[in-house]
Point group: C2
Chain length 677, copies 2
Amino acid sequence: MSSADIMPIALDDGRIRVVIENVQPAVDGGRFPIKRIIGDVVEVFADCFADGHDVVACALLWRRAGDTEWHGTPMQPRGNDRWHADFTVNAIGRWEYTVRAWVDPFLSWQHDFSRRIEVDDVRIAASSGAALIADAARRAGTGSDAALLDAWARELAFATNAAEGADADALKRIGADAARGSIAQRYPDLTHALTCPQIYQVTVERERARFSAWYEFFPRSASDDIRRHGSFADCEAWLPYVKRMGFDVLYFPPIHPIGRSRRKGRNNTLEAGPEDVGSPWAIGAAEGGHDAILPELGTLAEFRSLVQAAASLEIDIAMDIAFQCAPDHPWVTEHPEWFRKRADGSIQYAENPPKKYQDIYPFDFETAQWRELWAALAGVFEFWVGQGVRIFRVDNPHTKAYPFWEWVIARIRAQHPEVIFLSEAFTRPRVMHRLAKAGFSQSYTYYTWRNSKQELTTYFTELTQGPGRDYFRPNVWPNTPDILPAALQYGGRPVFMARAALAATLSANYGIYGPAYELLDAAALRAGGEEYLDSEKFERRVWDRDRADSLVEFFSVLNRARRANAALQRDSGLRFLSVDNEQIIAYAKTSADGSNTVVCVVNLDPHHTQSGWVDLDMQAFGLGPDQSFQLHDVISDAHYLWHGARNYVSLDPQRCPAQIMELRAHLRRENDFDYFL
Amino acid sequence: MSSADIMPIALDDGRIRVVIENVQPAVDGGRFPIKRIIGDVVEVFADCFADGHDVVACALLWRRAGDTEWHGTPMQPRGNDRWHADFTVNAIGRWEYTVRAWVDPFLSWQHDFSRRIEVDDVRIAASSGAALIADAARRAGTGSDAALLDAWARELAFATNAAEGADADALKRIGADAARGSIAQRYPDLTHALTCPQIYQVTVERERARFSAWYEFFPRSASDDIRRHGSFADCEAWLPYVKRMGFDVLYFPPIHPIGRSRRKGRNNTLEAGPEDVGSPWAIGAAEGGHDAILPELGTLAEFRSLVQAAASLEIDIAMDIAFQCAPDHPWVTEHPEWFRKRADGSIQYAENPPKKYQDIYPFDFETAQWRELWAALAGVFEFWVGQGVRIFRVDNPHTKAYPFWEWVIARIRAQHPEVIFLSEAFTRPRVMHRLAKAGFSQSYTYYTWRNSKQELTTYFTELTQGPGRDYFRPNVWPNTPDILPAALQYGGRPVFMARAALAATLSANYGIYGPAYELLDAAALRAGGEEYLDSEKFERRVWDRDRADSLVEFFSVLNRARRANAALQRDSGLRFLSVDNEQIIAYAKTSADGSNTVVCVVNLDPHHTQSGWVDLDMQAFGLGPDQSFQLHDVISDAHYLWHGARNYVSLDPQRCPAQIMELRAHLRRENDFDYFL
């Protein structure tokens, strides 16, 4: 751009007087799509105005991507030059919208005409109006609207030119015809209309992108016998257990052949013994790479069978995609050009000096052969989609180039819009947001380390109301195979329950790494660390699912409550409630249509009963200030009768640290009192 | 755009891993320039980051518009992937800036190298480093930097390949050389650099665009004799009076020939008598139009002489540009195509049915001859710039097309960057903001109707901290010829003083319509209205400047205080102070360098003495919590010794409703106590 370009207006556009500003929702001005779920109503706002007093009209234009025609919905003024309209996305895939605005001569005429008083003014204006209506008739073409408008124009013109002199009242009656006016309005003069040059995009996904409960599980631990490696067949036997707990995504760490070179031993030691199974994230060996299966787990056919069996229980199998190679991955020899080289010519292993991860080779996204690399990586997704997988959890996406993610996700979705991508990036906020913008359906969060009431309140307010609300869908995890947070190590069963209840109700998407979670595994590798002792990342485990203190039933209740309450199936609609006790957090969630409200109260102190007074904004719940209402706690099955804005709660963590209470039909409004007499 | 375009990335860019987001300041993503004043430091921020752990570097690029080369300033990290740099705009005109970022292989190497421990690692890394430094040497070209880097690369390579085996400590010492490293850093590898495609623009104006005191005056009332029409010569005699009050912009309503057809009489009556002078905004008659002067005022030469005389007192003459015509304006017959037609073929006068303004013909900005119209209107500005005018107050810009303003202001500024434009748009917020974005230097505001503490606090917080802060410069007026606000009609002299003091201190740009203001004209045309009785818009007046209650001295003090205190010369740096009395408003303003602070306290109640306690944020003023400090009230010349955060104020409106207090050198800090012993 040079200084000659001081005039950003195309001089052909000098007569376009209308302005469109601040179209919302928009991610980075439309650079990235917003995200929605099938069936959602997309609410669009824009500032539209012109100079002077002429009447402005505007329309929301929307279509499925790929369609050539736009649908148009008239926008309605919402005050202060802000306009609104909406459209419903009734199919998954990509949608588009933008805004068109124009100074409307017919509406301007109509506005003024109704206010005219003097006979001469009315007559002259009627004559102008007849011409404008005739123009609208021409634009209407040949149908019945055209005929009606044409007749109206003639009627007004005839009355204007009446031999006996025009009768102002009659003219005003004819010209002010609201019914015919609204038809004329459908055929506006768009000569000087402005269509916002930015096309805004919507990625529309299936319901599970917004509402899902994940269960992470190592298939190799599916066996009940420590001497026998778990298999897909064993996993099938686990499905009823997962279903009983109510999870709908069963997520497996990588299932590919595991590298033997530099294989890690138990508890992340550098020397693996002959029995050691290694880390599933060290992908690739002589048996194959990212499109192969570790032979001990089974065959591709058995995997497909498992995916089918899960699907019959409405469970998605989510696959882990970790784009890195073990030193014996076939690509290392087939495509050495996809990796960085050290000065001695050897392939650069992962490192964060002085730490070395010599069992892992990262890809070089600056390779001259990046196009081939991208294509190969896209092929991995395509291969597993071909096996029936529809959800991918992507490992460390923040160590791969953003343009690649934007490209590959768009590419997969173009063919398979039902595919869901979860970004496992525990890193800096802007990096996590960029990955979400690039297309990931869901994102890991900092929930894992947010414990206090203040932390949780601030963080979930940001997640649900901050700028990410249109593109960053949180998926919150109280633990992962990499992270056994300090709170779980020291808080006992009450903390496991509280953290699960918070995750399941604060966020519509959540997950646990099990069975470590429901079986209360709290043993850390070392004090002060967050790594599991005897981590399944490096060895097989056998789990005693019959432990008396198992949280299986608790998760059943949590996930049943989520399924029964639309309020818990979306992230918006969250409102924190004031409680006069820092150890008690309380919040309400409401469904989009306002018909379902859930009030959650959690005692964050695992050691002591905590009590306090909860303040509700009665009006926000559609309740009168002095009204009584019922709350049904789905965990304890207790029913509480609350009255007015301020109510008492008390939670014994040894019994249950959480209440998930459905707000029930209003018992009595003040003016319903007669009813009970 | 079609659905095929799901990939917004040019596939040639696949290796550009760095991201630039959220460049600030930016108006509508860079669509419009930000505004600054010569000498300002432009602070630029951006989020820059890449995937993975490689080190990112970025630079602010900036230049005067029209230059082909960019200046580059390295940006510094400010935490959370936010980067900062600044540049100084040392000339008026248009400037440009953008941001470049890249993954820096040398910095990444340097970061890792210092952390390496094992001899083999150090040796291999040193070898890579020698190659990277040699690359930098090549990019450095032929100068001394190139020689130094070349030598460094050789030294490191030689030590790496030493026959006796590389000594890790020696290698680390050589490779970690910070001085030579910072030189290598100057020649980065930009192969995969990203330059933000948006060029951000800055309109840099002269100081008066940010800091000005306007005095609006009807030249035809400049005569001391009601029988004699005022002239430019009379106006010259008024200059010392205006100078004494300290105003630096003397603004005249239109000075062109006034239409005779449909001329308005006194007090806006429809029938003008033969003596009636008409409204100066009914522009054009047989004597000429927008480039002519009303003969009674004088000649073009006399006008130029007045402009010169004012300039010698450092006063700008501001001209009113009202783009509309009286029916006898020459353009009406010369260019009937520039106006809308009614159905009867007559030219459409201004109207807001049923109201008619038959003395005014607006231009039709949708005319097919809009290019000729634009050129003619631009010619009006150019003509008066040719006569020495450098400030234009534009009448009702919101009834002319925005693209025209953007075009014409850019066109005038390209030749005359010293020209200042004031937008007189008292209309809806988004319209006012759009005009400011389109290029107006200053804008009228709602101050005229903001009276209560709550209203003033909210409004000035929005003006100084809201999204308009980079493009909307308020110019606040307690009255105008069109508006005698109710507060002035009923509050007497104390309200005139309070409103003037608020205007002069809350806003760096302010103005009054005088002599009506300083001579306390409070007579309204009718009760409940805001129009002046015997308005100068429709008749000449003679003013008694020697009235005992004149506010001439008060304005002298106000404008002297503004000139003496840098804090009052900008809009940012405003901070409202809490006072426990709703009738007292208090605020502090601080200069950009923090060296000058002014505390203002105004009693908004014109009838009663009001008292209260003012709370200061001591830390924000660089004061200790228990410190004493002096305040000098420039109005009363009183000195107050305040202590700590909470201090008492009391203002008798009959004496003076306002205190403008300079915060003086700190008297004592706690630990300075010895000094006084």
